[in-house]
């Protein structure tokens, strides 16, 4: 076989393989700031990065999904935990973009910050092709987060009262360890077992890490999980008080923790325990 023949064989084989790469087109777009994401570009990226867990059809049936806990998101349902929009509504493109960038702590979903902003925007556009809801519904209007109230002992103590009163402890446990009496029975909207957040394990939440993120989480709820929206139940100031108390449950050096530790050191014996036997969980 001559060198010329080998090169011809190589070229023909290459062309034949090259021709196998075509695919269908998608018109869906996403809009994040000045970025416009295109589903067609996102398809290639989805295939590269996401398909192993979320599956070729976006239905969370990727070849690796069976081994994952918690399970990957089912994009065909268009139900998303992390939103800035009211419960039951579609998230904004920015919400999905933030989720892709942030990842989800204590899950198999990593942060995709190493991708360029354009690539993340393209992925968001493609994710929106999996459910017809994106054609019929509009994204909800993001909730307004008022300015944070001052972090004071009174605020933290009132937050503790709310933690008892609103029965957060039933799932999250009296100390926020995710071990409340209902914790073992919880399932998500696909009947998969789900664990409530354990505040003792770290500083990050699935949907962010700031006080604003925490406020947003219980004012919008985490759709598809047992975590409801409390937007119709508590007032903004009360919500900030709850945020301040929840921060004391985390192993962090925060102003909330500093204030609370000093109070507990002096008055810990006076605190009523949180739980079913407590009338008020208060001071």
């Amino acid at each position: 076989m001559t060198l010329k023949n080998m090169l011809v064989a190589f070229a023909l084989g290459s062309m034949a393989l090259l021709s196998a790469g075509a695919g269908p087109g998608f018109a869906q777009e996403s809009h994040i700031g000045n970025l416009t994401g295109h589903a067609e570009s996102g398809k290639q990226l989805y295939r590269r990065y996401c398909v192993g867990c979320h599956g070729p059809d976006g239905d969370s049936n990727g070849e690796n999904a069976q081994w994952i806990d918690p399970k990957p998101r089912d994009f065909t349902l268009a139900t998303f935990k992390c939103r800035s929009t009211p419960t039951g509504t579609l998230p904004t493109d920015q919400d999905l973009y933030n989720a892709v960038e942030r990842g989800f702590v204590t899950t198999n979903m990593p942060s995709w910050r190493p991708l360029t902003p354009q690539q993340r925007a393209d992925l968001v556009a493609f994710i929106k092709t999996f459910s017809p809801r994106w054609k019929t519904d509009k994204a909800g209007t993001p909730i307004t987060i008022p300015a944070e109230t001052p972090i004071t002992l009174d605020s933290i103590q009132h937050g503790r009262v709310l933690f008892q009163k609103m029965e957060c402890w039933k799932c999250h446990g009296a100390a926020g360890h995710g071990d409340g009496p209902s914790a073992a029975t919880l399932t998500d909207s696909k009947d998969n077992p789900i664990r409530p957040y354990n505040f003792a394990v770290g500083s990050r939440f699935k949907c962010g890490e700031t006080n604003q993120d925490l406020y947003r989480i219980f004012m919008t709820g985490l759709d598809g999980t047992p975590m409801p929206s409390f937007a119709d139940v508590i007032q903004p100031n009360d919500a900030w008080d709850l945020v301040h108390f929840l921060r004391t449950l985390q192993p962090m050096d925060t102003k909330e923790a500093e204030i609370w530790k000093a109070y507990v050191a002096a008055h810990g014996a006076d605190l009523k325990p949180i739980g079913p036997d407590s009338a008020g969980g208060g001071k």
Binding site: M1, T2, L3, N5, M6, L7, A9, F10, L12, G13, S14, A16, L17, L18, A20, G21, G23, P24, S41, K43, Q44, R47, R48, Y49, V51, G52, C53, G55, P56, D57, G58, G62, E63, N64, W67, I68, T76, G103, F104, V105, T106, T107, N108, M109, P110, S111, W112, R113, P114, L115, T116, P117, Q118, Q119, T129, F130, V201, G202, R204
Partner: protein, 488 residues
């Protein structure tokens, strides 16, 4: 709604259709190699670690543009100490049966041909036979070397790599073995690595896409001017300590490594296998800095500057003629810059390097003895431009052009182009299997190099034995390779 990705459950259909093409190309290529003495297949320098895919459930393509080459997500993962930083990295989160081990080997068919080799004028030698230049060609089925990878985290922010590697005859050595303390003080800018490791180079020869004898090395990474006793190769693993850091997305990266001046050798020698010359007692320094920029819809664009400053002995302390310790160290350096540039599906990898050796090293002369007439400190300039076109995550076309020119000859009497190298390589890799458990690639590659007056740096980077050739004689060496590259 189905998108029929050729992965997972749909892989079978693709496999059938493409198998016809694969077999066709394979058969065409196989029919016709002539048969004469063999050249060794290089040890695979390439690294892809399905153990990580199994741990995190991500497909190969999440971390690799085309495995084993890393994309930026893979780079961040590596920079973080093989951690996704999702608070599930510590082994305590893994199923107890999980063991972070992978292996990789490539059954191949290849054809190697090199011109102007010293052969007997009468095959078999004997009376009347003389040594004449001839072309040596060999072809046949073969194996690559094998990598047996173990890598991962020992604990959160403590990672490790252990890589025993063998040549095709199963002679093993430790290609890499290090422990790394990650995110010291919770800061990604401080990570300490200790052991034997690859230098922090933007364009890695350990994770690149070429496999053949001629294409499977970057010539510039192993080049030394003819006559030099310097054994340094920028692509070779070194042994020492490295401090490295990076921004959260690894757009900005730096590393400072202090390594023994013994070419990564173990047991105080200059190699990882028995019988090597002893090393010396000094240290080399490698510096690298890279910065990436967001290229919008084009992709990520990264640039790097690097330098390696080292020493090598020019003679040895001896005992009854036996070499004991390298002495008379002569300095040398390599400096350069590189890029990793994306134009959507097209990736360009340019690199330029300048090298300079001490005059004693360059002339293989002990520094306690006089230099030969005409001796001078040699230098060279060279580089390459490599291109990858990603049709999709499972098909990539490759090409590379490489050129090295000697700037200053080790001896002024040498022709100015003595030792110059020109090399080309083209190929493609098709990945019919790309699960989060294992990977398989069909690999087809052709590479050819021309070196003037010297044997080519084909194969394992050390080249064939020196030939008594005129220093202006062109030596052509070509490789054609077809193989199934798999990692589990």
């Amino acid at each position: 709604m189905s998108r029929s990705f050729p992965i997972g459950a749909n892989a079978g259909k693709w496999l059938f259709v493409n198998s016809i093409l694969v077999c066709w190309v394979l058969m065409l290529a196989i029919v016709g190699g002539s048969r004469t003495p063999a050249q060794a297949m290089p040890i695979p320098r390439v690294k892809a670690i399905p153990a990580f895919a199994r741990k995190y459930g991500l497909p190969c393509s999440a971390c690799h543009t085309a495995w084993p080459e890393l994309n930026n997500f893979g780079q961040v993962f590596r920079d973080n100490g093989y951690q996704l930083m999702n608070d599930r990295d510590s082994p305590i989160w893994q199923n107890p049966s999980y063991f972070p081990i992978s292996f990789r080997i490539t059954p191949i068919w290849h054809r190697e041909s090199t011109s102007n080799q010293p052969v007997d004028s009468i095959p078999g030698g004997g009376a009347g036979s003389t040594t004449v230049p001839g072309t040596v060609t060999q072809a046949g089925f073969d194996l690559s070397g094998m990598d047996l990878w173990s890598a991962g985290t020992i604990y959160k922010n403590i990672s490790f790599v252990l890589l025993p590697s063998s040549d095709p005859t199963a002679v093993w050595h430790f290609e890499s073995a290090f422990i790394r303390f990650d995110n010291l003080k919770g800061n990604p800018w401080f990570n300490l690595k200790f052991g034997r490791f690859e230098l922090d180079n933007l364009i890695s020869e350990k994770r690149f896409l070429f496999l053949s004898n001629n294409g499977g090395i970057y010539q510039i990474y192993h080049y030394n001017v003819p006559g030099s006793s310097n054994d340094f190769g920028y692509g070779d693993n070194q042994i020492g300590v490295e401090m490295a850091g990076h921004s959260k997305n690894s757009y900005t990266r730096y590393s400072v490594a202090v390594v023994s001046s013994n070419e990564g050798g173990v047991n105080f020698t200059t190699d990882v296998v028995p019988g090597a010359a002893p090393g010396n007692r000094t240290y080399d320094v490698n510096l690298a800095f890279s910065q990436a920029f967001n290229g919008g819809s084009m992709g990520l664009e990264r640039f790097e500057a690097f330098s390696y400053i080292g020493q090598r002995p020019s003679y040895y302390q001896t005992s009854a003629g036996t070499q004991l310790v390298g002495l008379g160290n002569g300095p040398f350096y390599r400096v350069g810059f590189a890029g990793d540039l994306f134009l959507k599906k097209l990736e360009l990898l340019p690199l330029f390097m300048h090298g300079h050796d001490n005059v004693y090293l360059g002339n293989s002369t002990p520094s306690n003895q006089p230099l030969p007439s005409g001796a001078q400190a040699p230098s060279f300039n060279g580089g390459f431009l490599e291109a990858h076109y990603y049709v999709n995550p499972q098909l990539v076309f490759l090409g590379r052009f490489e050129k090295i020119n000697v700037g200053t000859q080790a001896n002024s009497a040498n022709p100015s182009d003595y030792g110059n190298v020109t090399a080309y390589a083209v190929g493609y890799r098709w990945y019919p299997i790309m699960f989060s458990r294992a990977g398989l690639a069909f690999h087809n590659e052709y590479a050819i190099s021309k070196s003037i007056g010297i044997v080519p740096l084909s194969g394992d980077g050390t080249g064939l034995p020196p030939l008594p050739l005129p220093n202006s004689q062109n030596v052509w060496s070509s490789s054609l390779l077809i193989g199934f590259d798999f990692a589990f």
